[in-house]
C-alpha cells in the first residue's frame, strides 16, 4: 500500500515537473524543474529495488550534468522573447512530430500489454540471497559486456579530448602562474635593502 502511494506521488511529481521544464518562463527555473524530475526518477528506481542505479542517477545527472546545465544557463543571458518568435511558425511541424511520437508510444504500450510483458509472470527474478544489485550489475558489466563497456569509455574519452582540442588555443603575451618558480623564489632574489638618509627621502631611480 505504502509502495503504491509512494509510486503515485513520485510519478506525479516527475510528470508535473517534466511539464514545467518545458513551460517555465525562466531557463534557470527549467533546469531546476529538470533536477526535480531526475530526483523523482531516482525515487522510482529505489521503489523497483534498483538502489544502485538510483544513486548513480543522482550522482551523475543531478550532481554533475545538471550542475553544468545550470552553469551554462546562468552564464548565458538567454533572450526568451527572441526564442519564442518562431513559436507559431513551427507549431504545425512540432504538432506532427508530437502526434507521431504519441502514436508510437501507444503502439509500443499496446504491444507490451498484448505480449504479456506487463504481467506478473515476467517480473524480474528476485536476486539470490546475499548478492546486492551493485554486485550483480558489476559482474555483468565487467564479464559479459566488458568490450561494450570499454568501447563506451573510449567514446567518452574521444569526446573529451575533442572538446579540449576544440577549445585549446595558444595566445602570446599571456601571463601564466609558474608554481615551481613561485615556490623556489628566495628572499635574496626579490628584495634588496638600501639605506636611505633620514629626512632626505628617496627617488625611485636611485634605488635601481
Amino acid at each position: 500500500m505504502l509502495q503504491g502511494l509512494a509510486f503515485y506521488i513520485l510519478a506525479t511529481i516527475a510528470v508535473v515537473s517534466g511539464l514545467l521544464v518545458v513551460t517555465a518562463r525562466s531557463p534557470v527555473h527549467s533546469v531546476l524543474w529538470l533536477i526535480l524530475t531526475f530526483f523523482s526518477a531516482a525515487g522510482l528506481f529505489v521503489l523497483l529495488g534498483a538502489e544502485f542505479l538510483a544513486m548513480l542517477l543522482v550522482v551523475v545527472y543531478v550532481g554533475a550534468v545538471a550542475v553544468l546545465f545550470l552553469f551554462v544557463v546562468m552564464m548565458l543571458d538567454v533572450d526568451f522573447v527572441r526564442l519564442r518568435e518562431g513559436y507559431a511558425r513551427y507549431l504545425p511541424l512540432a504538432g506532427i512530430v508530437a502526434i507521431i511520437l504519441l502514436a508510437e508510444m501507444i503502439m509500443v504500450s499496446l504491444a507490451v500489454v498484448q505480449g504479456g510483458a506487463a504481467s506478473a509472470a515476467l517480473a524480474p527474478a528476485a536476486l539470490p540471497e546475499g548478492v546486492s544489485n551493485t554486485q550483480s550489475i558489476g559482474r555483468v558489466l565487467y564479464t559479459d559486456y566488458i568490450y561494450f563497456f570499454q568501447a563506451a569509455g573510449i567514446v567518452l574519452l574521444v569526446a573529451m579530448i575533442g572538446a579540449i582540442v576544440l577549445t585549446l588555443r595558444k595566445r602570446d603575451g599571456v601571463l601564466r602562474q609558474d608554481l615551481a618558480a613561485q615556490a623556489n623564489r628566495r628572499r635574496v632574489d626579490a628584495v634588496e635593502i638600501k639605506s636611505a638618509t633620514t629626512g632626505a627621502g628617496v627617488k625611485p631611480e636611485e634605488l635601481l
Partner: protein, 359 residues
C-alpha cells in the same frame, strides 16, 4: 511483550520509530553544532592568544544560543531584484541536505536510521547535491559578488568531489561493501585494524597508501565544505562573503547551520571510513562482548563522538593556521595532484586485493 514487538513491526509502529530516530538524530546534531561552533571560535581564538567568546553563560557556553536568537529575531530582507522563491529555497535546500546525509551514518552498532546497501553512494549523492543551495542562493540574489562566489564554489565542489569519490572507492575495496556498518565492523578490534593503518594484519602494507589517502581525504573535505584555506567562495577580502552576501536573519542562519552540519558530517565520515568508527581501538572485541549491553553501547557512542570531535578540532586548527589558497592553486591541487594520486591509490589497493589477498 509479544504485542509490543508486533506493534513495532506494523507500518504505523515502523513510521513512529523512524520519525523518532530522525528527530533524535536531528536534535542531537543541532545541539552539538551549537557547542562545536563555539569550540571552533574558541580554538581559533586560542591560536591567536585571544579569549574568544566568554561573556554569555559560563565560559561563553551559551554564546551560540544568543547568536541563534539574534538571527531569528532579525528582519528578513529580500532584495528587490531577486528571484524570491529560489532565494528562499536555497538556504532551505542547504539546510535540509546537510541533515539528510546523516540518515546513513551509524553512531553505534545498529544505531542508524537507514542501513543502506549503497550507503557510501547515498552519501556521495547527497553531498553532490549540496552545491545547489549555493548556486541557487548566488544566482537568486541577482547581485555580482554572490554570483561570483556561487560560480567559484560550484567549480570547487565539483572538482574535489572527483578525488573524494576515488578515495571512497579505496575504502570500498578494503571492505568489499558500500554499507557503512559493514565498513566499520571490518575495522573492529585494535587500532591497527583501522583503514588508516592499512586495515588489519593481512593487509598492513597498505598503510603506505591508506595513511596519505586519509590526509588527502581530510584536505578534500576542507575544500568540499568551503573551509579555510579553501574558503574562496566566501573569501571576505575579495568577495565580501560570497554567495550569502544578500542573506540576513533566518535564511543566513540556515546557510550557516547547513555549512557546519556538513563540516561535522565530513568529520563523521573520516571517523567511519578511516579511523574505525565506533570501535575504541584499544579494547579487544571479546572484552567489548563481555560487557553489559548498555555499557558497551555507551563506550561505542562516546568513541564515535570523541573521534568526530577530534577531526573537528583538526579542521578548526587548520582554519587558524593556514592562509587562504589562490584560486588557480586550488584547482591545480584538486585536478593535477589529488586526482592522479587517488587514482593511483585505487589501482594499488585493487591490485593488492586481487594479487596479494586472493579473490
Amino acid at each position: 511483550m509479544e504485542a509490543a514487538t508486533s506493534f513495532w513491526a506494523t507500518p504505523l509502529g515502523w513510521t513512529l520509530i523512524t520519525v523518532g530516530g530522525i528527530l533524535l538524530v536531528t536534535v542531537g546534531i543541532l545541539i552539538s553544532l551549537a557547542f562545536l561552533l563555539l569550540a571552533d571560535r574558541k580554538v581559533w581564538a586560542g591560536v591567536q592568544l585571544r579569549k574568544g567568546p566568554n561573556v554569555v553563560g559560563p565560559f561563553g557556553l551559551l554564546q551560540s544560543f544568543a547568536d541563534f536568537f539574534k538571527f531569528v529575531l532579525k528582519e528578513i530582507v529580500i532584495p528587490a531584484g531577486s528571484d524570491k522563491v529560489v532565494f528562499i529555497l536555497a538556504p532551505l535546500i542547504s539546510f535540509v541536505l546537510a541533515f539528510v546525509a546523516w540518515a546513513a551514518i551509524p553512531f553505534a552498532p545498529g544505531w542508524v536510521i537507514a542501513d543502506l546497501n549503497v550507503g557510501i553512494l547515498y552519501i556521495l549523492a547527497i553531498s553532490s547535491l549540496g552545491v545547489y543551495g549555493i548556486i541557487m542562493g548566488g544566482w537568486a540574489s541577482n547581485s555580482k559578488y554572490p554570483f561570483l562566489g556561487a560560480l567559484r564554489s560550484a567549480a570547487q565542489m565539483v572538482s574535489y568531489e572527483v578525488s573524494m569519490g576515488l578515495i571512497l572507492i579505496t575504502v570500498i575495496l578494503m571492505s568489499g561493501s558500500m554499507n557503512l556498518t559493514k565498513i566499520v565492523t571490518d575495522q573492529a578490534g585494535f587500532f591497527w585494524n583501522w583503514n588508516v593503518f592499512g586495515g588489519g594484519a593481512g593487509t598492513w602494507p597498505l598503510i603506505v597508501i591508506m595513511l596519505p589517502i586519509t590526509i588527502v581525504f581530510f584536505i578534500s573535505a576542507l575544500a568540499e565544505t568551503n573551509r579555510p584555506p579553501f574558503d574562496l567562495p566566501e573569501a571576505e577580502s575579495e568577495l565580501v562573503a560570497g554567495y550569502q552576501v544578500e542573506y540576513s536573519s533566518t535564511p543566513y542562519l540556515l546557510f550557516m547551520i547547513g555549512e557546519y552540519a556538513n563540516i561535522v558530517f565530513m568529520c563523521a565520515m573520516l571517523t567511519l571510513m578511516f579511523t574505525g568508527g565506533w570501535n575504541p581501538g584499544f579494547l579487544s572485541e571479546d572484552f567489548m562482548a563481555s560487557l553489559p549491553a548498555f555499557v558497551a553501547y555507551t563506550i561505542y557512542l562516546l568513541t564515535f563522538i570523541v573521534k568526530t570531535v577530534f577531526w573537528f578540532f583538526m579542521i578548526a586548527l587548520v582554519k587558524a593556521f593556514v592562509p587562504r589558497y589562490r584560486y588557480d592553486q586550488l584547482m591545480r591541487l584538486g585536478w593535477k595532484i589529488f586526482l592522479p594520486f587517488s587514482l593511483v591509490a585505487v589501482i594499488a589497493v585493487a591490485a593488492w586485493r586481487v594479487f596479494a589477498v586472493g579473490a
